[in-house]
Symmetry: C2
Subunit: 259 residues, 2 copies
Amino acid sequence: MITAKDNELIKDTAKLMSSAKHRREKDCFVAEGVRLCVDGVLSGAQITHFLYTNTAQKKYPEEFARVSAYAQKTVEISEALFKKLSDTAAPQGFLCIVKRLDKSIGSFTISNQGRYAALENIQDPQNLGTILRTAEALGTDGVILSSDCCDIYSPKVIRGSMGAVFRVPIMIAEQFTDFIRTVTKQGIPTFASTPHEADDLHTVDFSKGGIMLIGNEGNGLKQETIGACRQSVRINMKGRAESLNAAAAAAILLYALQG
Amino acid sequence: MITAKDNELIKDTAKLMSSAKHRREKDCFVAEGVRLCVDGVLSGAQITHFLYTNTAQKKYPEEFARVSAYAQKTVEISEALFKKLSDTAAPQGFLCIVKRLDKSIGSFTISNQGRYAALENIQDPQNLGTILRTAEALGTDGVILSSDCCDIYSPKVIRGSMGAVFRVPIMIAEQFTDFIRTVTKQGIPTFASTPHEADDLHTVDFSKGGIMLIGNEGNGLKQETIGACRQSVRINMKGRAESLNAAAAAAILLYALQG
């Protein structure tokens, strides 16, 4: 059982939780909590380490058996250490170190009639997590992210997504605007959401599916990205304009896209 | 200028930020940040104290003049003290103590053709803040809350609502289910949102407005509350059922209610 906080594995885990750079370098991320660890197993992700506490093993025997049988290494750590490591107020005593998944361009294909979300420069991890969760709940076929979105592997995104990061097809596009321009030319309907001049969501034909683009919390989509889309759409707000939270706007937009 | 953290005003302010009980007893709450303080002035709320830092006064001279002319007392506090007091990572140096507003039953009337949200036992302050912000953006005419919702005057709700707490008519119903039953009998359309047996949102007639009810994050609406409504409605989820975040669900439901 590990009890020392200067243990290499513990130091590395703490760094994986706090640093996006370290996650990239090690090509790993952390999933904390019983449900997220089981989600990792179910999704077939590669789990290099499963860290647990004695209390958790007793409290969740089935889940413990499942995750420990699957993980490459299973390591007990002290309750005190887990509490220090944990990102939450009431830690459950389950934590997995998981290999990052393939989120490169082409990790899934955009198909005719498919329904996708594309996110440009979303900065708030909570918003990103919620949008991924919403995308999954509404049956969105995949999510495309610009590379300047916040890190999908940050603990806040993973938790906020309720594990959707493990299940929803996601790709990160380095050349986001070019990617959108290309698929638009290929005939995929692309919809730029904007509070400015645009067609009211109620009047738009979503019967052929397509890609709904959602922009940065403060600034929305870049002008050139809007220009790369087939059509601009807006949520008709009867109250104060431009004041929807990005995740709330995404929920309305993705629901509309379902047709 | 106040510099001592054991100053009575500072201790009281800190307690107003952390304790719902203290807010009730003092009948006051705290609005922090330049925009929220100005929102308080614009809404005509009674501001008993305006606490500011020297840096903030220089940085926001117009807003400073506006809020200080309106507040009953204006008090400078040291930068170090403000940082300790503040709820945010990068405090702006503006903080108002505001008298609680009238949120009792009857503080607004439910009118025919009006569109309202009714929230039962929402527990997460961030969700509640986002729902109030969404309600305002979509032009909802008012929000009814059950008395077991989290405190609308908590700093997280105030901030998450982007000041909507100052502008959206809100009432807190001690006897929430009875209230809904009564308005239903009076002919107001009441819609219970539930993931279970219910009519698909797409098929529901919202042309006469009404009240959209949204329940607790984990458990949804109480059975007796569902029974008090005219109709049950559900968001048709093509993905994993029951997995929408409450604020995301509320956005879809309130947008649909707008018709």
